[in-house]
């Protein structure tokens, strides 16, 4: 009951956040985004044709009227039709979000799990050569552009100039076998890049925990090192770790991974969003921004609830 009350209170508290984010983003779309009108005109347009396109797309209506429509759309989850393709926005998102999740989740999970493992090893050997080697490798991974990683991995694993083991693009998945074929290289690229960031972050968290009194006490009592690491260090570090993971989720769900999707020809929400940004396809952008804001609010609530699960000292007030 306490959790429910807390959730409702937080939901109400999230309304100003959603209003602020949507208002600012819509302001940017309308007054600073590209003018899509001229993507719709013919090769020899007349002034009348241009005015007609603006009217048909609703671009000639007052800002506040359009913003009120936007809020109504968030409430009803009906964002109308994409300006560019004409397809219903909800249909586009329903088609593309699952694909993006299917592409990104394995890399996201592996990137975090491996990051934790390497961080634990590094933290346990703090200042030793193993720690330094892991940190140096992390910096290398962080320093290479994601774009370069994707291109190199594509050439090495997917092209006739390399191993030619996996498809270079597309998303024709009829079963787990096809899925693994299509997701392996994107996952490897994602993990390669994410691992450095994750390892460094998690190591910092774990090292801080290692210096705490309870760890020193556990060691003084002769607790085996592995038990100290897993039971006393990792468990007590979960709050920053959970925070990092949880706040990545809205971006993963809505934004997908533009580079992965573009280079591997995967029809996910990242590519849709990027295409929409390029031409200011407002119905899609409004949906993506609105839903991301909504997800952030929900994530905040879930994260707070998880805090209380992982650390009984945390109370939901």
């Amino acid at each position: 009951m306490e959790t429910l009350r807390y959730t409702l209170r937080k939901l109400l508290g999230g309304v100003p956040l959603i209003l602020g984010v949507t208002f600012l983003s819509f302001l940017l779309m309308v007054y600073f985004g590209p003018d899509i009108t001229y993507e719709f005109t013919s090769k020899n347009p007349t002034a009348q044709e241009i005015a007609s396109v603006r009217a048909e797309l609703g671009l000639d209506r007052p800002f506040l009227v359009r913003y009120a429509d936007y809020l109504r759309e968030i409430v009803t989850l009906d964002f109308g039709h994409s300006f560019a393709s004409g397809e219903r926005v909800t249909r586009i998102l329903a088609r593309t979000i699952p694909i993006s999740l299917a592409v990104i989740i394995p890399g996201f999970i592996l990137g975090n799990l491996l990051g934790l493992v390497f961080a634990l090893i590094a933290a346990n050997h703090r200042s030793g050569w193993i720690d330094k080697a892991i940190m140096a490798a992390s910096v290398v991974g962080m320093s290479i552009s994601f774009l370069i990683v994707v291109i190199v991995f594509q050439i090495v694993f997917c092209s006739s100039y390399g191993l030619n083991l996996f498809p270079s693009r597309g998303w024709q998945v009829d079963g787990p076998g096809d899925y693994l074929m299509h997701v392996t290289v994107p996952t490897m690229a994602t993990v390669f890049v994410a691992l450095g960031y994750n390892t460094r972050f998690y190591r910092a968290v774990l090292v801080e925990e290692l210096t705490r009194d309870h760890v020193r006490t556990a060691r003084a009592f002769g607790t085996p090192p592995s038990q100290v690491l897993y039971k006393h260090v990792l468990k007590n570090s979960l709050i920053p770790i959970v925070t990092r993971i949880m706040f990545s989720i809205p971006l993963i769900v809505i934004s997908g991974s533009l580079i992965i999707e573009s280079y591997f020809g995967i029809p996910g929400v990242g590519k849709i969003t990027f295409d929409a940004i390029k031409v200011n396809d407002q119905p899609i952008l409004k949906a993506v921004v609105g839903l991301t804001a909504l997800l952030f609010v929900l994530t905040l609530i879930v994260t707070d609830v998880l805090y209380s699960v992982f650390d009984p000292r945390v109370k939901l007030k």
Binding site: P34, D35, I36, T37, Y38, E39, F40, T41, S42, K43, N44, P45, T46, I50, S52, A55, E56, H81, A84, S85, G86, E87, R88, T96, P98, I99, L101, A102, I105, P106, I109, L113, L116, I155, C158, S159, S160, Y161, N164, S168, R169, G170, W171, Q172, D174, G175, P176, D178, Y179, V183, Y230, L234, Y263, G265, I266, P267, K271, D275, V279, N280
Partner: protein, 597 residues
């Protein structure tokens, strides 16, 4: 740790389930008995609605899923029209103002829930009338209306009066279920070409009423293929099993053993298309990604060779020839594009265009002529088009029959001294030269083009700081700047809609000034009079002479730095029987594609 492991396991299962679920509709993908041709586009088409088939990519798919009254012959060059859904070429009245077209009988739309019982009904003349009317209905957001604007009696007025489909249009009538009659306001020799465009495809009203704006992703046509899947990365077309039987007459299509023999297209003679079960089209804008997929061997069958890859694939650029290794694996076709790139001066801008002061106007003309003389087309060709493009003077590109081979090449031959002399004679000094803004869509390549242009201008004495770049986030944004006459130089490309120089000469017709296609805002009553005279003439030497006279006016008045037609190099695997054409024949050739294994 156990908790994290459990969460990870669940998430992985969910991901696999999503992956499997999201692609369950992709039927037939793995069937080895199907003939699947895998094509590639450099960009994704935005809409498959014929009213918005404004790009070569949209047009390709529209022409394969809908029917048009006319089409271009598969192999004939110069390009020739032929009946498609029409059962013959149009019958023109003696005054050239009325044309009558009869439609083939027994042609049906594909089966779709929009039809009674889900069964595709017969295509009729009323569909053509409806489809053309749609272009004048603001709700269609048509990009093709300009072909017929002011051309068909009563059609513009019908749109302006509210686009009520119950109202007849005097100049656009279905005489019976299979006969269309069009009455023109004045002779329009290019009308048959316009009826071969994706814009003129026949759309069933039921589909528009039911799907509305989503017609753009759910085509309902009567063409050789049916769209099975379409998203931001690919389109999948499957063979229309009910497509009419029309055996190929290769001689009629323009077959020439010497030109087409290498492609193997002889094998389709006498057979009825389409020949493949599926066409899968990947939209790949990144060149390296496209070529990686093409060279894998089991993915793309077809790709345009990007100029950045010429050195890797070609052993010679003149003549264009593949390296031996690539020649053993791929067929190649290199051809000059039906279009060109050019830079127009915006003559509405007083810094280099028309001016109230006649002396300044004369000086402005000298400035434009000097800039033209200073522009190095060969360097542009070598720097950005692999050195294989065709540079030509004027605005009539080499691909059309009216091209003037005798026109002086002075306007495309760099002469720095002549440019300096022109500036000096007109009294221009580095101090008095106006600041020139060079607008570009934001990209590295466009910025490099600007830098090259600035270098050209420095060579003729233009101060470096007076050539400035203005970048626009999107093509739509720079297009807006052109249409609102905001830039002194309009740097653009034009693709011909049909092989007739009228399509490029209209770029300088006065009444087409901003926001129309005449971005130069060129106003020359003499030019306009010639244009109006030629516009109603049938093709022939007399009209060609007028075209070429207008072309010379463009050059003499220093209206544009023009032009360069890019050479397009197409590659396809040897197991594909095809003779591709990217622009004019457009999508019409896809139904003739076959595979040898």
């Amino acid at each position: 740790m156990r908790l994290i492991g459990t969460i990870a396991g669940i998430a992985l299962l969910v991901a696999i389930a999503f992956g499997t679920y999201s692609c369950s509709s992709d039927t037939g993908q793995g069937d080895p008995d199907l003939k699947v041709y895998r094509h590639s586009f450099d960009e994704a088409p935005r809409s498959l609605d014929p009213a918005r088939a404004a790009t070569v990519y949209s047009n390709f798919i529209v022409l394969n899923t809908y029917d048009t009254l006319y089409a271009y012959k598969y192999l004939a060059r110069p390009y020739e029209l032929k009946p498609n859904l029409a059962d013959g070429m149009p019958a023109f009245s003696d005054d050239g103002l009325t044309l009558t077209v009869r439609l083939k009988r027994g042609v049906h739309y594909i089966d779709d829930p929009v039809f009674e019982g889900g069964k595709g009904r017969e295509v009729t003349a009323h569909d053509f009338v409806y489809s053309l009317k749609r272009h004048f209905d603001p709700r269609s957001l048509s990009q093709g209306a300009w072909f017929w604007q002011g051309r068909i009696v009563g059609l513009d007025a019908w749109g302006e009066a509210g686009a009520d489909y119950a109202q007849e249009v005097e100049g656009l009538r279905a005489l019976d279920s299979h006969t269309v009659q069009i009455t023109l306001t004045r002779p329009y020799p290019q009308i048959t070409h316009t009826l071969a465009q994706g814009f003129a495809a026949l759309v069933p009203r039921e589909a528009v009423d039911e799907y509305g704006r989503e017609l753009s992703v759910r085509p309902v046509g009567s063409g050789p293929f049916i769209v099975e899947d379409f998203d931001s990365t690919r389109a999948v077309l499957r063979r229309n099993p009910d497509y009419r039987s029309e055996p190929v007459d290769l001689a009629y299509e323009g077959y020439d053993e010497a030109v087409h023999g290498f492609s193997g297209v002889k094998a389709i003679d006498g057979r009825s298309p389409p020949f493949v079960d599926r066409i899968e089209i990947d939209f790949i804008s990144d060149d390296s990604s496209r070529m990686t997929s093409f060279t894998k061997g089991d993915e793309l069958h077809y790709a345009r060779l990007p100029s950045a890859f010429y050195d890797n694939y070609l052993k010679s650029k003149a003549p264009i020839a593949l390296s031996d290794d690539n020649a053993s694996k791929y067929h190649m076709l290199a051809g000059v594009e039906p279009g060109f790139v050019f830079h127009q001066f915006n003559l509405d801008d007083p810094i280099l265009g028309y001016h109230d002061d006649p002396a300044r106007e004369a000086a402005n003309k000298a400035l434009r002529c000097a800039i033209i003389q200073g522009f190095d087309w060969e360097a542009r060709n070598n720097g950005f088009y692999g050195g294989v493009a065709v540079v030509f003077p004027g605005t009539i590109p080499p691909v059309v029959p009216e091209f003037d081979e005798t026109l002086s090449r002075d306007s495309v031959t760099r002469d720095v001294n002549a440019a300096k002399a022109l500036l000096a004679q007109a009294g221009w000094t580095p101090e008095t030269l106006p600041e020139l803004t060079y607008g570009v869509p934001s990209s590295v390549r466009q910025t490099q083009m600007f830098e090259q242009f600035r270098g050209f201008m420095q060579d003729i004495g233009y101060p470096r700081d007076k050539i400035v770049i203005k970048q626009y986030a999107t093509f739509g944004d720079i297009s807006k700047a052109w249409k609102q006459s905001q830039l002194p130089i309009v740097n653009k490309a034009w693709s011909l809609d049909f092989p007739d120089a009228e399509n490029t000469l209209q770029l300088y017709y006065g009444p087409n000034g901003s926001p129309g296609s005449n971005d130069a805002n060129y106003k020359n009553p003499g030019y306009d009079a010639l244009y109006e005279r030629a516009a109603v003439m049938q093709p022939g030497p007399e009209r060609t002479a007028l075209y070429q006279q207008m072309n010379r006016m463009i050059v003499d008045d220093c209206v544009a730095m023009t032009g360069l037609s890019r050479t397009i190099i197409l590659l396809w695997h040897k197991n594909v029987i095809a003779f591709p054409d990217r622009n004019i024949v457009g999508g019409f050739w896809a139904k003739y594609v076959d595979l040898t294994d």
